[in-house]
Symmetry: C2
Subunit: 198 residues, 2 copies
DNA sequence: GGCGAGTGTGTACGCTTGTACAGCCTTGCT
DNA sequence: AGCAAGGCTGTACAAGCGTACACACTCGCC
């Protein structure tokens, strides 16, 4: 039935391999140092492959960052889905901030690059927006909306400080902060229910 | 007395003008789009000036980012110094997060670029570290150390979400979160004193 | 076995980049 | 007025970039 002869590419998964190689190069040299040639070398594919599979460097980086954010969102969600009780949910948030699974050094480097890039390329801007939304959605499995916003800020901001602080994560402080926010924003005696005092 | 004839440069302030122009270009095009020529055009100086005043692009960007972080640190500190009571201090933190004075769109864009750049250039890495330290020091004018850490994460993380969220700052929620952290971490009933439960 | 379509690649080109440097121009001293 | 000493600049160059494209190759069908 098909008029075309070869619907299957010779090397399936090649495109993904290129995207991973691109992320490797970005992690190592930053976007300014990321070139077609370096990506091709890292992926061990000919230079022409990049222009064949992608519509220029902007397209390639856009898809690479989308791949990154999709993968991280999945980890984020899986971590929160595994929690069964409110206490476990708080623990999961602490894990996201401190744990060795999420927000690794490589991931933080890539996230910085993505945010920087997003400010100058609308497509990646949309990716970043979607990513923030998905995070909040995952937190929504366990917490009311305002708490989600506040906690997500924590999950976002703390690893950044870790990246430039060399110090250990200090799990206890993170745990205390998470508890303070959850308690304080859900009607605890420490603060108003949420956002109803302005 | 002096052996040299011209100790005063023809155009004082030129160097600073170049640094400001560099930040303008970075804010508009990102580091990957920042070139000697574009900076020179923006600063309205000849191309040769850049190699005369700076030892290459890395040196120039390093000094530009240092200028940026110094300026922002000053605003940060001034805002906190103006607070006279604990309540005013909390309000100041909320101002830093929401206010139109600190963390403007341009500044956030530049901060992203700086963080991304810092991961690949040791000099700017030191600048970023110093910047985080200064922030915490300024918060230390009003809050104990663990609270400083948590609040600084908020000041860092919330504007990031603002940058990709299009929504309004929601001052009330920010204020409630700040209060929850300050209350919860300083012995309030919502949580332990601080970091002493691991 | 031969054919044609569609996948994939090696090479070449025009352009922009960072940077070096020969020399100009301003200036203070004599 | 003349000089000498730098601060400063315009220009030139080699390197590396993104991208186009003519061609090789593979494979199902007749």
């Amino acid at each position: 039935m098909s008029g075309t002869r070869r619907e299957v590419p010779n090397d399936p998964g090649r495109k993904e391999r290129i995207l991973d190689a691109a992320l490797d190069v970005v992690a190592e040299l930053g976007v300014p140092g990321t070139t077609h040639r370096r990506i091709a070398a890292r992926a061990e594919v000919p230079l022409g492959s990049l222009t064949y599979y992608f519509d220029g460097l902007e397209d390639l980086l856009g898809q690479a960052f989308e791949r990154l954010s999709t993968g991280m969102s999945a980890t984020y969600r899986r971590t929160l889905e595994a929690a069964r009780t409110p206490a476990e949910a708080e623990e999961a948030v602490v894990d996201l901030i401190c744990g060795p699974r999420y927000a690794t050094a490589r991931e933080m480097t890539l996230i910085f690059e993505m945010y920087a890039y997003a400010n100058h390329h609308a497509g990646v801007g949309a990716t970043a927006r979607a990513w923030v939304l998905r995070s909040r959605e995952s937190l929504g499995l366990h917490f009311p909306e305002p708490v989600c916003r506040a906690l997500d800020v924590l999950v976002e901001g703390w690893p950044i400080h870790r990246a430039f602080d060399a110090g250990p994560p200090d799990r206890a402080l993170v745990a205390a902060t998470v508890r303070a926010i959850v308690g304080g924003l859900t009607g605890g005696p420490g603060g108003p229910p949420a956002a109803d005092e302005g």
